[in-house]
């Protein structure tokens, strides 16, 4: 590679070659940064004894950076399976899942661990905090795996706890925290290494209505503040309000992808329809 002196303007042939390369790379660069998750013909078949269960029957999906996506569907629809595929928790029987243009099936154990540590943050329905550790220690655990030194860990951990509103409870163990508080700690933990994606599996599943709403609100705020892509598999209809797109899954296939603008329009139209019928 020739190191270019910034003061020196490339001329002639060199300039042409550079412009050529820039032109070739630009669409690739745009493409690389636009879609953070891509699924291509993802199929998953489970062998349950003698019976073959087709959990996913060819899913094609593109998720843009910074989007807030909800995957919705009834039980047994393949929602959790798709979630596992996207999160690198399971491998498809055929087809590919790309995160940041990286094919997950090609990763070895170290790379997968690196991906989970630094690129993806996970939030679970059952919170999944380590019970023997305090809130701060739970939040900083991913930082330990990422090799962050202790002082920096503590500082960042406290910042994250402050952001989710639990700074005074840094020293409490999960048993001393309510469900909503535990989920907030889990959210802070998911953000520990500044991930690009947050994967949330039924984040409000074990929470009451009010707390669930607060958590959804928190996730939306973080999505807007940090630009982190949020992909959530959920039953909760409250998610519809904050999602950029909703992906409906049924029988292992994508039944429908709805845009938020469209959902709101349809809801408004439905209300209008009702009012009109009522008036008649």
């Amino acid at each position: 590679m020739v190191a270019l002196d910034p003061m020196m303007q490339p001329t002639g042939e060199m300039r042409e070659r550079l412009e050529d390369a820039a032109q070739r790379l630009e669409p690739l660069m745009e493409q690389a940064s636009e879609f953070i998750v891509r699924c291509r013909e993802v199929r998953k078949v489970y062998q349950m004894g003698r019976v073959e269960v087709q959990a996913l029957r060819g899913v094609n999906l593109d998720i843009k950076r910074g989007e807030y996506i909800s995957i919705m569907g009834p039980s047994g629809s393949g929602k959790s399976t798709l979630f596992n595929m996207i999160g690198g928790l399971d491998k498809p029987t055929s087809g590919s899942v790309y995160i940041n243009e990286v094919d997950l099936a090609q990763l070895d154990a170290y790379e997968l661990a690196w991906l989970r540590c630094r690129t993806i943050g996970y939030i679970f329905q059952t919170f999944n905090l380590i019970p023997v550790m305090t809130a701060l220690e739970n939040v900083t655990l991913p930082m330990i795996f990422a090799g962050v030194p202790e002082d920096e860990r503590r500082e960042r951990g406290m910042e994250l706890l402050k952001r989710v509103g639990l700074a005074e409870r840094w020293n409490h163990k999960p048993a001393e925290l309510s469900g909503g508080q535990q989920q907030r700690v889990a959210i802070a933990r998911a953000l520990a290494n500044d991930p690009v994606i947050i994967l949330a599996d039924e984040p409000t599943g074990n929470l009451d209505l009010k707390t669930g709403r607060e958590i959804i609100q928190l996730l939306k705020e973080l999505n807007e503040e940090k630009g982190v892509t949020i992909i959530s598999a959920t039953h909760d209809l409250k998610m519809l309000d904050v999602s950029d797109r909703v992906i409906w899954i049924r029988d292992g296939r994508i039944a429908k992808i709805e845009d938020r603008a469209k959902i709101q329009l349809e809801a408004a139209l439905a209300v209008e329809e009702e009012l009109v019928e009522g008036a008649e």
Partner: protein, 220 residues
């Protein structure tokens, strides 16, 4: 993206990726210590098997030393019989530890899956379990060695008189080169801790094989 030589999919070399995922021994120790001390009841189950085996071993050691001090050297067949009993005791203890730790792994499947989701490698999980086992083995051994030797000293004292016990070589080595009391104590500690760690290998490997997806499972 294809691989080019040593460059992996993330634009880092394989070595760089390996170096960036780490669990320093000090941190592993801290986490394991936490598990051992907080789940004290469960830890005591494992530690008590080590306690009993090491108490037995140390009692035998003390008896041999006391007998020598009283001038009643034990003959070879008797020593062999005692050795055999101790080995049997250790084997039983080992099975007990394996059992208790396998149960522990089953109970902690969700935590282990979660740690994998946070980026833990298989070897981190193994490391944590082995350190836990070492800690429980060490504490069990210390307590066991103390208890075993104390009981045997008291009993020996009543049988052959406490004055004779003064002849026991208390240091690491006795006059004729064989192990003294302290030497036996250390050997018992090492034997108990080693027993605990070696028994923990099977459960630790089982724990390491758990998948990140287990964090999402509702039952084991």
């Amino acid at each position: 993206m294809t691989r080019r030589g040593n460059m992996t999919a993330f634009g880092l070399t394989r070595e760089e990726i390996r170096r960036q995922i780490q669990l320093p021994w000090s941190e592993a120790f801290r986490i394991s210590w936490r598990y051992v001390t907080i789940r004290l009841g469960r830890s005591l189950v494992t530690a008590s098997t080590v306690f009993l085996s090491v108490a037995f071993l140390m009692a035998i050691f003390t008896m041999v030393l006391a007998a020598k001090a009283a001038g009643q050297e034990l003959d070879a067949p008797t020593r062999a019989r005692y050795l055999w009993s101790v080995i049997m005791g250790f084997m039983i203890c080992s099975v007990g530890i394996i059992n208790a730790l396998l149960m522990s792994v089953t109970e902690r499947f969700r935590e282990i899956g979660t740690m994998k989701c946070l980026g833990a490698l298989d070897e981190f999980i193994v490391r944590m379990f082995l350190i836990e086992a070492a800690l429980m083995g060490l504490f069990g051994s210390i307590a066991g060695a103390l208890a075993g030797s104390l009981i045997m000293l008291l009993w020996g004292g009543f049988r052959v008189g406490f004055g004779v016990l003064g002849n026991i070589p208390w240091g690491f080595q006795s006059a004729d080169g064989s192990l003294g009391f302290l030497g036996c104590f250390v050997v018992s500690l090492v034997a108990g801790t080693l027993l605990s760690v070696v028994s923990a290998i099977i459960p630790a490997l089982r724990a390491a094989r758990l998948q990140a997806a287990d964090a999402l499972r509702t039952e084991i």
